[in-house]
C-alpha cells in the first residue's frame, strides 16, 4: 500500500524555489486504481516521479512522508531506490512509440528486467516473458518476442510496455497518461487490460490522466489536482457524481458530452462576458463578404503514395492514403471529419489546401474547380479563400516574429490594406475579436499559453478573409477547459461571418458539439456521412457504432444539466 502524506516538491532556481506540489495526501491500496486528474501544470506527473524517485534534476522532495508498505521511500540510498524501481514500483509512460529502446528486441528488454530483480536462468526468464506476453494479449508470443519495437503497432507496443512494467510483479504501477497517444479502440483495450491486472494481480495503479472520461470508466478512487494542490479526493462515484469543489465541477463541465449537443460550453472565466463583441475587425471582415457562402465539393479523391520496395525488380505497391473520397461541405456549415490516426484525415486537408497533389479526383470550391497541388499558382484566389488552423499552436507560429508581424502578414500579402498603420490597427482589433488584449501585438509567441496561441492562429486565419476554414485537430494539444474556450470562439466566429468549416478531429465528442454534418473516415475511405445527429444517434456503419461505444464518457447522471440546452 502506498501512503503519501503532506508531500511537497520544490525546484530551486535562480529566482528562489518553485514549489511544484504542496501538501499532497494520497493512499493507494493493493488492487486499487487511483485516478490522478488535472490540467497541464497541475503537478500530476511530479507526484508520480517523486514516488518512483525519478524527479528531474534539480527537483527535490522538500517535505512529507512517502512509504510503500513498511518501506520509507524517502530514506533510501540511491542504490536501494534503484533496486526498488522495477521490483516493487514500476511505471508506464505516455507514448509507446518512444518508451522502448529501438535497438533491442522485446526479448532482450524483458529478460534484462526480469533478471535484474530475480535470480533466474535465461531459459526460465524467457518462459516467464513468453507467458506474460500471451497473458497480455500478444498472439504467437514465442515468435513475436524476437521482434524489435518498430515491428509492433502502437497498441501492441503499449502492451509490451505494460508487460515490461509487470514482469517483476510490482506492488505499484504509476501509469502516466497511458492511453493519451492511442486511438479510442486501442485505448479501451489497454484500459481493460489495466483493470484486469489490478483485479487479478492485486497491483495498485496510480493512473495519471487529464481525461475525466477515462477516470470515470476505470478508476476506483480519484484525486483532483490543480496548481500543485489537491482540490478534492474520494471515491470516483462520489467525487464525480457530487463534486464538492467548484474546480471539479468546472473541469467536468468543460468535457464535451457525446450523446447530445449543447449550445455553448460553460467556461469558468467567461461567465457573464458572453459571446465576443463586434468591433472594427468584425466590420472589416463583414465588408469582405462580397462572395456568397462558399461550399466545397470533393469527388472521388484518390491519393496514392509510393510504397516501400519489396523486391528489386517489381514495382513497389502504392500505399493508398485516400480511396475515392467524395464529400460535400455545404455553404455556411461545419463538416466534422473523424477517424483514427492514419485514416487519411490530414492527407485530405493537405490535398484541399494544395500542399499535395491528389492522384485523381475533382475538388470544387463553390462553383470553381480547384487546381491540384502544384498546378495551383501562388496567386490563385483559393490560396486566400481557404485558410487553415493547425493542431499544434507551439509550432504553427514563427517564434522569431512578433504577433504584429504574424497578424499583418496576410493583410499585405493579399494586398487588402496598403497602409502599414491601418494594418496594425486592424490586427489589434482582430486580437480583441478573438478575446485577447490588443497590447499582445508587441509580444512574441512564447509569451503566451497554448490556448492564447491558438487564438492568435485563428486571428491570423481570419485576417486573410477566408470563406473556407480548415481546422485540423485545433484543440487536441490543449487542456479541456482551454479546448472549451477555443470551441466556443470558433462557433461564435462561424455564426458571425458565415464561414464554411472543415473540422478535423479524432475526438468524437468535440465533433458532436461542433459539426452540422459528420463524415467518418477509415483507412482512406468514407465509412459514413450524414447529419451529425443522425450519425451519432443512428450510426449505420459498424465501425461508427464501435467507435461510439468505445469512447469513454461521463455517465449521464454525473453530467451537469445546467449548461445543456
Amino acid at each position: 500500500m502506498l501512503t503519501i502524506k503532506d508531500l511537497s516538491v520544490k525546484f530551486p532556481s535562480r529566482f528562489g524555489d518553485f514549489t511544484a506540489i504542496e501538501d499532497v495526501d494520497m493512499t493507494i491500496k493493493p488492487g486499487e486504481i487511483h485516478g490522478l486528474v488535472g490540467e497541464s501544470g497541475a503537478g500530476k506527473s511530479t507526484v508520480g516521479a517523486a514516488v518512483i524517485g525519478l524527479l528531474s534534476s534539480p527537483g527535490y522532495i522538500a517535505n512529507g512522508e512517502l512509504s510503500l508498505g513498511n518501506t520509507n521511500l524517502r530514506t533510501l540510498t540511491p542504490d536501494q531506490a534503484h533496486d526498488i524501481r522495477g521490483d516493487r514500483i514500476s511505471m508506464i509512460f505516455q507514448d509507446p512509440q518512444t518508451s522502448l529502446n529501438p535497438l533491442m528486441t522485446i526479448e532482450d528488454q524483458l529478460i534484462e528486467t526480469i533478471q535484474a530483480h530475480s535470480d533466474v536462468s535465461y531459459a526460465d526468464a524467457l518462459k516467464r516473458a513468453v507467458d506474460l506476453l500471451e497473458e497480455i494479449g500478444i498472439k504467437d508470443a514465442a515468435r513475436r518476442i524476437k521482434a524489435y519495437p518498430h515491428q509492433f503497432s502502437g497498441g501492441m507496443r503499449q502492451r509490451v510496455v505494460i508487460a515490461l512494467a509487470i514482469c517483476t510483479d510490482p506492488e505499484l504501477i504509476i501509469a502516466d497518461e497511458p492511453t493519451t497517444a492511442l486511438d479510442v479502440a486501442v485505448q479501451s483495450q489497454v484500459l481493460d487490460l489495466i483493470r484486469r491486472l489490478a483485479k487479478d494481480r492485486q497491483i495498485a495503479f496510480m493512473l495519471i490522466t487529464h481525461d475525466i472520461g477515462v477516470i470515470a470508466q476505470i478508476a476506483d478512487r480519484v484525486t483532483v489536482m490543480r496548481k500543485g494542490r489537491v482540490m478534492e479526493t474520494g471515491e470516483t462515484a462520489q467525487v464525480l457524481g457530487a463534486p464538492e469543489h467548484p474546480y471539479t465541477r468546472a473541469l467536468m463541465d468543460a468535457v464535451p458530452p457525446l450523446d447530445h449537443r449543447i449550445k455553448r460550453f460553460r467556461v469558468p472565466d467567461e461567465d457573464g462576458k458572453g459571446p465576443v463583441t463586434g468591433n472594427a475587425a468584425e466590420k472589416w471582415l463583414l465588408e469582405g463578404q462580397q462572395h456568397a457562402l462558399t461550399g466545397l465539393t470533393l469527388t472521388d479523391i484518390c491519393m496514392r503514395f509510393r510504397g516501400p520496395r519489396t523486391s528489386l525488380w517489381r514495382k513497389p505497391e502504392p500505399f493508398v492514403a485516400l480511396n475515392d473520397v467524395s464529400l460535400e461541405v455545404r455553404p455556411g456549415s461545419i463538416l466534422g471529419l473523424v477517424g483514427e490516426s492514419g485514416s487519411g484525415k490530414s492527407t485530405l486537408a493537405k490535398a484541399i489546401t494544395g500542399l499535395i497533389t491528389p492522384s485523381s479526383g475533382i475538388m470544387k470550391l463553390g462553383d470553381d474547380i480547384l487546381p491540384d497541388g502544384k498546378a495551383r499558382g501562388r496567386k490563385h484566389p483559393s490560396r486566400q479563400l481557404i485558410q487553415m488552423v493547425f493542431q499544434d499552436p507551439y509550432s504553427s507560429l514563427n517564434s522569431r516574429h512578433r504577433i504584429r508581424d504574424i497578424l499583418t502578414e496576410p493583410l499585405w500579402f493579399y494586398g487588402f490594406v496598403p497602409d502599414a498603420r491601418e494594418r496594425e490597427k486592424l490586427a489589434a482589433a482582430m486580437l480583441e475579436l478573438v478575446g485577447m488584449q490588443p497590447d499582445a501585438i508587441d509580444k512574441y509567441p512564447h509569451q503566451f499559453s497554448g490556448g492564447q496561441r491558438q487564438r492568435i492562429a485563428v486571428a491570423r486565419a481570419l485576417l486573410a478573409r477566408p470563406r473556407f476554414l480548415i481546422c485540423d485537430e485545433p484543440t487536441s494539444a490543449l487542456d479541456v477547459s482551454i479546448q472549451a474556450e477555443i470551441l466556443n470562439l470558433l462557433k461564435d466566429l462561424q455564426a458571425m461571418f458565415g464561414l464554411t468549416i472543415l473540422f478535423i478531429s479524432h475526438n468524437l465528442a468535440v465533433v458532436r458539439q461542433m459539426a452540422d454534418d459528420t463524415a467518418v473516415l477509415r483507412n482512406g475511405r468514407i465509412e459514413e456521412i450524414g447529419s451529425t445527429d443522425s450519425v451519432f444517434e443512428r450510426p449505420s456503419a459498424d465501425y461508427t457504432q464501435n467507435l461510439l461505444a468505445l469512447t469513454p464518457v461521463l455517465p449521464k447522471a454525473w453530467q451537469s444539466t445546467a449548461v445543456a440546452g
Binding site: 525519478l54 533496486d83 514500476s90
Partner: protein, 324 residues
C-alpha cells in the same frame, strides 16, 4: 536492403565519375601538357606530331572516356617529375598514410568515446570540467603547432621518440608496414597523436552531446523506472543509441584524416601520400595531383559506404521490415 546497397553503389559511381572529371580537367586544362613534356628545343612540328599521337586533338568527350578507361585498368599515367608510373608512386606511399590515419583514428576513438561517455554521465564533476577545458585548448591550437610542440618536448628535450620519418618498416607483400616493430611504433606515435587530437576532441564532444540527449529520452527513463542495472543502462541502452549518429561523423572524419594528413606528414616528414602531394605541387606534377584527387575521393566514397553498412548493422529499423 539489397536495393539500399545497390542504390548507394550507383550513387558512388556517379561521385567517382564527377571526381574523375575534375582530375581530368586539371590534367588537360591547367597548362598545356605538351609544353610541359617537351623542352624548348622541340620543334613545333614535333610538338604537333606528339599532340596528334597522344590523342590531344580528339574531341573532349573521347579524351575523357579514354582517361577513365585507363584509370579503371590501373593505368594512371606517368609523373612529369620522376618519369615513373604514377600508380607505382602512389602504391608505395599509400601504406604510410593509411597506417598513420588508422592509428590516429583509433587513438581518437579509444580516448574520445570513453571520455565523451564519462563527461556525459557526470556533467557537473570537476574532472569533466577539466577534460572539457583541456580539449577546448587542444582544438583551438592548429595541428602543425601541436606537432612542433610534441617534437620539441618528446623528441628534442626528452629525446624519447624520433622526430621525423618512418623507421623499422617491414615489407609484407607490396605493403611496407611499420606496425610490426617497436621502432616503427616509436616513429608512428607522435604524428598519429598530432593527427588524432582534433578528431579526438570532436568525437568526445559529439559523444557527450548525443549521450546527454539519449539519457533524457523516454526509453532510458523507462529502463530506469524498471530498475535495469546502471552499467547495462549506460553501456548497452544509452551508448548503442548514441553511436547511431556518431558513426556518420566518425566515418566522415576518417576520410578527412586521410585527406588532410598533408600538414602532419609535412611536419614529421612522413613519407605518405600527403607529402607526395606537396612535392608534386611544388613541381606542378599534374598527373600525380590528379590521381591523388581520385584516390582520396575513392577513400571517402568507400568509408561512406562502410558507414551505411554499419548503420544497417546497428539499427534494426533499417534491417527488419515491419511485420504487421
Amino acid at each position: 536492403m539489397v536495393y539500399f546497397i545497390l542504390k548507394r553503389l550507383v550513387q558512388s559511381v556517379f561521385v567517382m565519375l564527377a571526381v574523375a572529371f575534375l582530375a581530368f580537367s586539371l590534367f588537360r586544362f591547367v597548362g598545356d601538357p605538351i609544353t610541359q613534356m617537351t623542352g624548348v628545343e622541340t620543334s613545333v612540328a614535333d610538338q604537333e606530331r606528339l599532340r596528334e599521337e597522344l590523342g590531344l586533338n580528339d574531341p573532349f568527350i573521347l579524351q575523357f572516356g579514354r582517361f577513365t578507361a585507363d584509370m579503371l585498368q590501373g593505368d594512371f599515367g606517368f609523373s612529369y617529375r620522376t618519369r615513373q608510373p604514377v600508380a607505382e608512386m602512389i602504391a608505395t606511399r599509400i601504406p604510410a598514410t593509411l597506417e598513420l590515419g588508422v592509428v590516429a583514428l583509433l587513438i581518437s576513438l579509444l580516448v574520445g568515446i570513453p571520455a565523451g561517455v564519462y563527461t556525459a554521465l557526470r556533467p557537473r564533476g570537476i574532472p569533466t570540467q577539466a577534460i572539457l577545458l583541456t580539449t577546448l585548448v587542444g582544438v583551438s591550437i592548429p595541428t602543425f603547432v601541436i606537432g612542433i610542440m610534441l617534437i620539441f618536448i618528446f623528441g628534442v628535450q626528452l629525446g624519447w621518440l624520433p622526430t621525423f620519418g618512418r623507421g623499422g618498416t617491414v615489407q609484407i607483400g607490396g605493403w611496407e608496414s611499420s606496425l610490426f616493430t617497436i621502432e616503427g611504433w616509436r616513429a608512428l606515435l607522435l604524428p598519429a597523436i598530432t593527427l588524432g587530437v582534433y578528431q579526438l576532441t570532436l568525437t568526445m564532444r559529439l559523444v557527450r552531446a548525443e549521450m546527454m540527449e539519449v539519457m533524457r529520452s523516454d526509453y532510458i527513463r523507462f529502463a530506469m523506472a524498471r530498475g535495469v542495472p546502471m552499467r547495462r543502462l549506460h553501456y548497452k541502452h544509452a551508448l548503442a543509441n548514441t553511436m547511431v549518429p556518431v558513426i556518420t561523423i566518425i566515418g566522415l572524419q576518417f576520410g578527412g584524416v586521410i585527406a588532410f594528413s598533408i600538414v602532419t606528414e609535412s611536419v614529421f616528414q612522413w613519407p605518405g601520400m600527403g607529402l607526395l602531394f606537396l612535392e608534386s605541387i611544388r613541381f606542378v606534377d599534374i598527373p600525380v595531383m590528379g590521381v591523388y584527387l581520385v584516390v582520396i575521393a575513392f577513400f571517402f566514397v568507400l568509408v561512406n559506404l562502410i558507414v551505411d553498412l554499419l548503420y544497417v548493422a546497428i539499427d534494426p529499423r533499417l534491417r527488419v521490415r515491419d511485420v504487421q
